[in-house]
Subunit: 388 residues, 2 copies
């Protein structure tokens, strides 16, 4: 009755944790949320005002199926400025209702049944689900904590086949917080360029801007044979607005547009107006810098706290807002451990196995929460570990 393409999709365990946590809260419990991939900050004021102005002005109608030209131009200029590259033509920027639909449209366009996409294990939980939904095959490559969960080039080369249509990179990464070095990105671009199946590079750049050491680089600095996925949710604390985008080669615009027209009509007009302010209003830059300062401080606090509790962190993550910590000392069953921590300590954490079989034995801790809450969460986990 339920089709395999959906019935075979893995439930998203971190979402189950969240929804169970909300049940506990409705029952009067106080829960600390370290399971969320979502900024705890409010959307910056100028962005909110732009959204409000759009509503007041009656900017509440469908937009062009690819998005407003104003926003597409601002994104083009943002990429040119941030990465010192020629601006990708605004026609190549496609606006979507979050970056997830951008993945759906891109993969639907490029991954046929039986085609393969290479991605790391662990990876963002939803990525392989898009692939298998389409009847394509996620080819996972394990990455290891001892070199900071970096892709190993030889493993990518070994995974290439005649059906490899894309290599997915995600820097800074969910769940590991890893930043790919520019050298590694150049090498991956080179591997893709010389592979017989000429795979695309899909670069998930949603955590760009949230970097605490070094600098995130865009795949557009290294190759044109790529699709760049990004959005406003993380850096600008705009998750509830649902706005993302994808930058694609010109040949892909028209087929992807057909799918966007049919399946989405357009993204939210008011979210687009708000997102334009995110990229252009000077006060937003200061607000984002303040958020990054907070994440920076929380990151150090959480790293120290987790180590003190006995979690393993071989290489410190330098981006996004996650620590992917080795919990092998406490349990080999991360889902069970995460559920126990929620039920017993009233702290939500994401089980590592959510992010791939090679994530088993780890927990993902998000520091998109206040120092006070992180401290309280760590205290509760300490007590839980002491009494188990």
């Amino acid at each position: 009755m339920i089709c395999d393409r959906v019935g075979g999709m893995k439930p998203f365990l971190a979402m189950d944790i969240l929804e169970r946590a909300q049940e506990l809260e409705r029952a009067g419990e106080h829960v600390i949320h370290l399971e969320l991939g979502e900024p705890d900050f409010d959307t910056p004021q100028a962005i909110k005002e732009a959204g409000i102005a759009a509503i007041r002005q009656g900017d509440t109608h469908y937009t062009h199926s690819l998005g407003t030209s104003q926003l597409r131009e601002a994104i083009s200029e943002h990429y040119a400025r941030a990465y010192h590259i020629d601006p990708p033509h605004p026609d190549r920027v496609l606006i979507t209702s979050g970056s997830s639909p951008a993945f759906l449209v891109a993969m639907s366009t490029l991954l046929g049944s039986g085609d393969e996409l290479i991605l790391s294990d662990p990876h963002y939980a939803c990525h392989p689900n898009f692939v298998s939904y389409l009847g394509a095959v996620p080819r996972t490559i394990p990455v290891f904590e001892d070199d900071g969960f970096q892709y190993r080039l030889d493993d990518i080369r070994a995974a290439l086949t005649a059906r490899t249509r894309a290599i997915l990179i995600n820097s800074p990464a969910n769940p590991t917080g890893t930043l790919l070095s520019p050298e590694r990105m150049a090498e991956i671009a080179q591997v893709a360029a010389t592979a017989p199946s000429r795979p695309w590079i899909f670069s998930d750049e949603i955590y760009h801007g949230l970097v605490y050491q070094g600098r995130a680089r865009s795949i557009l600095e290294f190759t044109d044979h790529c699709l760049v996925f990004n959005g406003f949710s993380k850096l600008f604390a705009m998750t509830g607005w649902r706005l993302g985008y994808v930058i694609v080669p010109r040949d892909l615009v028209r087929p992807m547009q057909t799918m966007l027209q049919n399946f989405f009509i357009s993204a939210s007009s008011l979210a687009q107006a708000a997102a334009y302010a995110a990229l252009t209003d000077p006060t937003v830059r200061a607000d984002v810098a303040a958020m990054v300062r907070h994440y920076r401080e929380r990151r150090l606090f959480m790293l120290a706290g987790l180590r003190e509790l006995g979690f393993g962190i071989a290489v410190e993550p330098t981006g996004a807002f996650y620590v992917f910590a080795n919990a092998g000392r406490f349990s080999g069953d991360s889902n069970r451990l995460a559920r126990d921590i929620l039920e017993e300590a009233k702290v939500g954490v994401a089980p590592g196995v959510d992010f791939g079989p090679h994530g088993e034995g780890y927990l993902r801790f998000s520091y998109a929460n206040s120092l006070e809450n992180i401290g309280e969460g760590l205290r509760r986990i300490r007590e839980y570990l002491a009494r188990r």
Copy 2:
């Protein structure tokens, strides 16, 4: 390079007309838009205020993947009140970013490769594209102007096969404005209930409330073996907010939730707050009634005007905001005719063939525009027809 599932998708001709019209406008031309499936009205004030309040209050985060319980309860109560039925349990109401993603998720869950869905010809242009995207088969049944484009029961029966998984109804219909009679809906429910493949009824109720004679009935009054698709775009003039929903049997909630979590995370938090006001604020009812009065007046005006120009309207449409007029007297090539009317008369109209092969020879005129604009549009078309 482009997968068949997307490459084989028909472009949406009405969108091409719109986008060409916008090009003309950027070049300084004045275009009358009668091609749009979108209210020209502003979103009612109380809805806008609720959206603004949500932004101000920082209600800008992910919601539950199925939507806020507040909105889901309001939808349940709305259905109970409007159709005198037992309230569908709020757990069965799934909130989506517009009704299009609801179709994608529902069809992905229920239509396997090679399965069949029955729909009318003409139909909403995107409906068969969802089906063929999934490798399923749209089985179209021609409907005819001489009985107001009503489904013919015998034709549905004749189209049933062992692979028929769903029958799609859409009342009031896009593009024809047809309202299905309660007797016809009961019969279709009966046909579905007794067919060996036990097809679902997919009822697209997005134009409910926009009815000028008679009353739209929900499929939930006739059967439980159904999915109801609806949203806020049309009745509440909220297209740019992107908010829809689907009411499903309990067994389908969990598999559809998995897909929603993965592909959409959640619908817009602020749009959900605004939609709650749409269903509960008493001033919205008056605003909607005023919009319906306008549509009612425009409908009569447009019907008279089109007939005077020589377009054929055998049975007057009684719902939505469309007239599907026979243009056979002027051309057998509706796409060519629509393009000529745009280029020569600067009036956007939707070509009938966009809505299925059996729509060829027709044009769809939308009266979601002011009396003044409709009058000017008809005047321009009269001049164009006189000189061609």
